[in-house]
């Protein structure tokens, strides 16, 4: 009996495994964007997120640079993971990342010198950004090349997105407008919301260091509150479902009791 059952079970399992792998590739890419967002959920990589987000453009520029570095470093580290001895893996990761950052620094200074000037020492400090070393250690050193690249892309898109959000809030409320094309090498220069005359209501402290801490703290609180409300709603739903089920069971029992009683009466 058992031997006859086995061959039927195997192909079913194989099909299921394929599905799981496909879903996994997609979720390795998407999980870093919001669900495991490096800044708002994991609270990693705070140095750059505070230092370069006084304007939207600088934050976005930093995000793009981290996207390039993280994708390439995950690619390299995942492809050499089998012949790097585990005792020297961290120094070798650091050297790989430092080399990349040095190359990128030259490119930025050549093609986007305004961005290089704005980021200053924080451009070189991408080397010690916890997110990059963290993804290398937690994901790329254990997984195949393609998932590692996707993981790097997803994580850094999430990072760039959060830097852009923080930069937007700080620049918009701090100066009353959003400047585009002044730091990044864009073909145009515009001042979004510049014509609304909002700058006289701006809160200048938000572009200063204390404003950075304050805005990230408040944004984190908002996202935590949102998650808490979602959790509470889910808990309520579950409770309601449980009550519903209990009521159904009760109704069934009562119906059965009533039926039994009716049978008793009939008898």
């Amino acid at each position: 009996m058992t031997e006859a059952k086995k061959p039927i079970a195997v192909p079913k399992k194989a099909v299921k495994k394929d599905d799981i792998v496909k879903v996994d590739l997609w979720s390795t890419f998407t999980k870093g964007i919001w669900k495991e967002n490096s800044i708002f959920v994991m609270v990693l990589g705070m140095c750059p997120s505070l230092a370069v987000t006084s304007t939207l453009e600088a934050g976005l520029g930093m995000g793009i640079l981290v996207f390039i570095i993280l994708t390439i470093s995950n690619l390299i580290i995942s492809s050499i993971r089998k012949f790097v001895p585990s005792t020297v893996r961290i120094p070798s990761y650091v050297v790989i990342i430092a080399t990349e950052v040095t190359a990128l620094q030259m490119l930025v200074n050549a093609f986007a010198s305004d961005l290089g000037e704005t980021l200053g020492v924080y451009l070189a400090l991408i080397v010690v950004n916890c997110i990059i070393l963290g993804r290398a250690e937690a994901f790329a050193s254990k997984n195949k090349v393609v998932p590692s690249i996707l993981d790097g892309m997803g994580t850094s898109i999430g990072f760039a997105l959060s830097l852009t959000i923080i930069g937007f809030v700080r620049e918009f409320f701090g100066t009353g407008m959003i400047k585009l094309g002044y730091i990044l090498p864009l073909p145009f220069q515009i001042e979004l919301f510049g014509g609304f005359g909002l700058s006289k209501y701006s809160i200048g402290i938000l572009t200063a260091p204390p404003g950075g801490f304050l805005i990230i703290g408040l944004l984190l609180a908002v996202f935590t509150a949102k998650a808490n409300i979602k959790k509470a709603k889910e808990a309520e739903k579950e409770k309601a479902e449980k009550i519903k089920k209990a009521l159904e069971i009760k109704a069934k029992l009562e119906a059965a009791k009533a039926a039994a009683a009716a049978k008793g009466v009939e008898a």
């Binding site: 050297v95 040095t102 010690v128 916890c130 304050l214 935590t224």
Partner: protein, 190 residues
Amino acid sequence: MDLLAILISSLLINNIILMQFLGLCSFFGVSTKMKSVVGMSLAVIVVILLSAAITWPIYRFVLDPLGITYINTIAFILVIAALVQLTELVVKKVSKSLYKALGVYLPLIATNCAVLGVALTNVASDIPYSEALVYALGSALGYSLVIIAFAAIRIKLNAANTPKALKGIPIALITASLMALAFMGLAGII
């Protein structure tokens, strides 16, 4: 007088945590227990001073004459990593009790951006050796000052009745923001 100005400026006015945002990971990660904070800040003082003392000559007498200053990031991070290992070995040999106090925090410092940040700022601003050392000392003391004060506040905060959404990191960030505001007020000293 000039050196004193640099010391005060790096200690209070351009504080490495609150104004330059360097070393924030350890700032939020470690600052929940007083004992670990003191250990961490001692280790940071030692490593920042040593790394500043070594990276400046390397830049000036090796990288600069050879015309390869562009690899300073790689060179410095390797120097710092080696230095951290060496400090760990020396401390282990010299004092068992100090090793017990610092041991856990030393490896973490290799990726602390404060150390690399100070070394890079020193060579980028092109200051003489004495000023570089004083800047490193001021930054390291400023790091310790802020992280110890912050830990004291956070221990009180844990007992306070904060709103649910603000618990943990958000209220810590807002506290840091208020501290940064207070430190901004010190800008008039010099």
